[in-house]
Amino acid sequence: MIKTGLKGSKTVYTFPGTEKEAKNRIKWRENVVAYTFLGPALLLLLLFLIIPAIMSVYYAFTDYYLLTPDTRKFVGLDNFINLFKDPIFLKSLANTLKFVVWVIPLQIGAALGLALLLNKQRKANTFFKVAYFSPVVMSLVVISVLWLYLLNPNEGIINNVLTYFGVSAQPFLTSPKQAMFTIVFVSAWQGAGFQMLIFLAGLQNIPGDVYEAAQLDGMNKWQRFIYITLPLLKPTSIFIFITTLIGAFKLLVQPMVMTQGGPVNSTMTVVYYIYQTGFTDRMVGYASSIALLFGTIIGLVTLAQRKLVKEEDD
């Protein structure tokens, strides 16, 4: 019998063997219990995250075609060389960057603006908050399909309103020039409400007496915003910036549902292209090389975020 006993109390061992053996036995038992608790999570992470990630890296250097796995062979850097000669990949990279560059200021700016507007005692605030937050509640598929109807060039309500105000009807998603900007707008529209709430929480954490002191020192509203609100909002802003950035890099559902990457690949994104080459065209090797390249970039950005946030905390 083993009595594991209380910490600090004198444990009595009533089985043969030295005290050291007993300790080893307890330790072994502790390990068995702990790994039983870790087991399911470890197994699932291994199967669906760690092994796929390692496989991705390996496949990137092979010509793996899903339907002929037996003829798979190592091709060195061929995939990566082809990648930079592939006009659709280069286009998807440019499109993704274009999306990131436009959606970040638009979405974060909107979120901050809404939060500042709401950061005030007002009876109707709950109503406005719910209104701004409402797009967050809808799934990406739902908002993509919904906007497809709203933006219909002929019958859509947006063009009806535009023509009512004397603006000519726009092609939106059917134009290579406008399609990506339309997706930028829809994405920012959907995401801003959520970040507004995070900004609002950040704003409400700023103690009121800081503002009072500044007011006594003769600072006007604008100065208080620049010298107090913005610096104190920095940790929140960094968090929002990085999470939006990473999310924006992974753009997939909106172009998939709204434009299928068109017209003329103007909304093809990197993750969508990974899906198309790897899943639709079954060129697993080639898709993996894109995934490896792009995953590394996103991974580095995430790592930078941790460093930044840590410095903020210290």
Binding site: K27, A34, P40, L49, V141
Partner: protein, 282 residues
Amino acid sequence: MRRKFGPLTILEYICLVLLAVLFIFPLFWMIASSMKPEAEVYNNMNSIKAFLPSFHPSDWFISYKQVLTRFHLLGYIINSLFYGLCVAAGSVIINGMAGYAFAKLNFNGKRVLFGLLLALLIVPLETILISQFTIVHKLGLVDTRLAVILPALAGAFNIYLFRNFFMAIPAEIIESAKLDGANTWQIFLRIMLPMSKPAVATVGTLAFIGSWNDYIWPLMVLTDKSKFPIQVAITAINSTEPVYTNQVMAVLTISTIPLILIYIVAQRYILEGIGGSGTGIK
């Protein structure tokens, strides 16, 4: 002293209202269009009528009846509920167990595994979709419900969240439970989980929402329509001729109702989970 209704205040309210219209009009249009005959949807586009349901209440639910008979909508909703509940319950148990081990149990390799866990937070899931699919393919799970559920269960972030919550539970409580003869499993189920209700609610809710909204993964692993979750069904319905706007809007509305309910009930936990953790991932 500023007057109560200065010009600035009025300007503020105009901004607030115009922005509210911008953010909420699609939702209104979606619901209103689902509650009128197809011919009326594109009438009166320039009047407030576009945002009002039919003036005949008997017309309100016709499109709903039509989609419910044309498509196995109820089946898709039940599928989504099933996937969502399995993923939510599974996430809480599996990640909770692992979080408990990291927080309160001693074992060999703890530091290494915890380091690995933190490293896993960086892996962008979207980029390994293809090799995840090849794994599911090799396991013979393609076109099974398990293929939708299993990969969604374990998550590094959720394990980390549970671990942080469990760390805060004092050791004395665990010791006294041990004295009362409770084993590790009982301690986990009767003490750790009940004492961490916010963590359970956060992980459960976010897992459900994530599963409900997931599109690309079920689209990849399922081919049998009867197993489709609602999100995949939406795009299938939207491309099944003849496409009627009022019917599509009815489907969109139905698929959004569960989410609205969840956001109302669990809003506190959802915010704490993502937003409130603010600098959560350290």
